[in-house]
């Protein structure tokens, strides 16, 4: 009656991977933070440059999370895959947290660099809008009582909202802006001093793994909760 296609394979596989993922995340985070604190101060920015190692990866993961969420939403809508629904639903709050982190660290960095916590430029504004999108998706999902309808509705929004991703990325090119231009993901290779590049790469990987670990954990708990709910209803009936 409550036909939840049993994502048993996912539970088995993720159960095996999760411990390794958690360990790798912890190791990379430690290494990355140590490196970040040990690089020499920047000749222009001084110690403020260290914010980069927490800011840039947070912003990247926030965007990646959105992309994955939209993908999951599409899979859920097209193939009616329950696992994709769970993935979509659980990615939103995580992505929102990383977005908030990127906003906070960015604006802490902005104070010494630009003299203001906030400016209304294309990158900052479009990234703020990403947070709004995440919040809208979560709010829409919560506002509809019926589970499947909730996931479908917020999934449609997630897919539509994906247009914001390229806008965030290219905003620095499309507007005259205060924000740092593309310095890593650009044609012609990165334009950052190698001393900063390595710690940044490690931190980026660490954040990514952190996101995946948290995502898997949340997916597993959601699946278990649903099983419990189904048992409750059918058990009583």
């Amino acid at each position: 009656m409550f036909s939840l296609a049993n994502p048993k394979r996912f539970m088995d596989a993720s159960g095996k991977v999760l411990p390794w993922l958690a360990v790798a995340t912890a190791v990379l985070l430690t290494v990355g933070l140590t490196l970040a604190l040990s690089v020499p101060p920047d000749y222009q920015q001084g110690d403020a440059v260290r914010i980069m190692f927490v800011h840039v990866p947070a912003a990247w993961v926030a965007m990646m999370a959105y992309g994955l969420m939209a993908l999951a939403a599409a899979v859920g809508l097209i193939w009616r895959a329950p696992l994709a629904d769970v993935a979509m639903k659980t990615a939103a709050p995580l992505g929102a947290v990383f977005t908030a982190l990127g906003l906070v660290t960015g604006s802490l960095w902005g104070r010494p660099m630009w003299g203001a916590f906030w400016v209304w430029d294309g990158r900052l504004t479009s990234f703020l809008l990403l947070l709004f999108l995440y919040l809208g998706i979560m709010a829409l999902g919560n506002a509809i009582e019926d589970e499947t309808r909730a996931v479908r509705a917020s999934g449609i929004l997630a897919i539509v909202g994906a247009v914001n991703l390229p806008i965030i990325h290219f905003s620095v090119r499309w507007w005259t802006t205060l924000h740092q231009g593309e310095s890593l993901l650009r044609k012609g290779g990165p334009s950052i001093a190698p001393v900063f590049l390595w710690p940044l790469a490690v931190m980026a990987l660490a954040y990514t793994l952190l996101f995946f670990s948290l995502w898997i954990v949340r997916m597993r708990t959601t699946i278990l909760e649903r099983k419990a709910a189904v048992l409750r209803i059918t058990g009583r009936a």
């Binding site: 009656m1 409550f2 009582e145 209803i233 009936a237």
Partner: protein
């Protein structure tokens, strides 16, 4: 020119409450069903499931058309349904004539029949000025012009006077005689021969 409706082990759950379970019913051309039951029994919900608006928790609804095609998908089924909802879908700002001509264009070429429902003198009157029963008559006129084979009627007699009630009975009888199927959720006998389906109840 006929169709058959096949309701198979439907279960309806609303707000975590099971309204009906494993409901099955097969209707062939000309059948009329009076759907009865106390307030909140799930009559409207059943009609919405048949129309394809609502997805049942379990079970399936099939329509067999004259060409032998079997429609299970909600959207295909929708094209066979004539709907008279509890709400009249009357726009306050449009005149009776405007509304009927709009719906007849939307549904195809059925001409708007004002006269049989006593609407002829009201053609120029905007929806805002209609009395409750006049609105209901407008909804009935719209139902007949859609020329659909499967009528789903939610309290068709609401707000109608004695003459209006007779009119509904006549329309339904004519519809069934022409090979149509009609299901009417009602708290008052319609005066049409047919099955009675009780929902809910103690």
């Amino acid at each position: 020119m006929t169709l058959a409706l096949d309701i198979d082990k439907l279960t309806c759950v609303r707000a975590h409450r099971v309204l009906f379970e494993a409901l099955s019913l097969v209707l062939t051309a000309g059948a009329f069903v009076s759907l009865q039951g106390p307030n909140g029994a799930g009559k409207t919900s059943l009609l919405r499931i048949i129309a394809g608006f609502l997805t049942p928790a379990a079970g399936i609804v099939r329509i067999r058309t004259e060409t032998g095609a079997i429609l299970t998908d909600g959207e295909d089924r929708a094209r066979a349904v004539g709907w008279l909802g509890h709400q009249d879908a009357v726009k306050l700002q449009l005149t009776v004539g405007e509304q009927l001509s709009f719906w007849s264009k939307l549904y195809g070429d059925g001409a708007a029949a004002l006269a049989p429902f006593g609407l002829a003198p009201l053609a120029e009157v905007p929806g805002q000025f209609l009395s409750a029963g006049q609105k209901r008559r407008l909804a009935l006129a719209r139902l007949t012009l859609t020329k659909r084979k499967l009528w789903l009627l939610d309290e068709p007699l609401a707000a109608l006077d004695a003459a209006g009630k007779v009119l509904v009975a006549q329309s339904v009888r004519a519809h069934c005689a022409a090979g149509g199927i009609a299901i009417a959720a009602t708290h008052e006998p319609l005066g049409v021969d047919g099955l009675t389906l009780h929902l809910g109840g103690p």
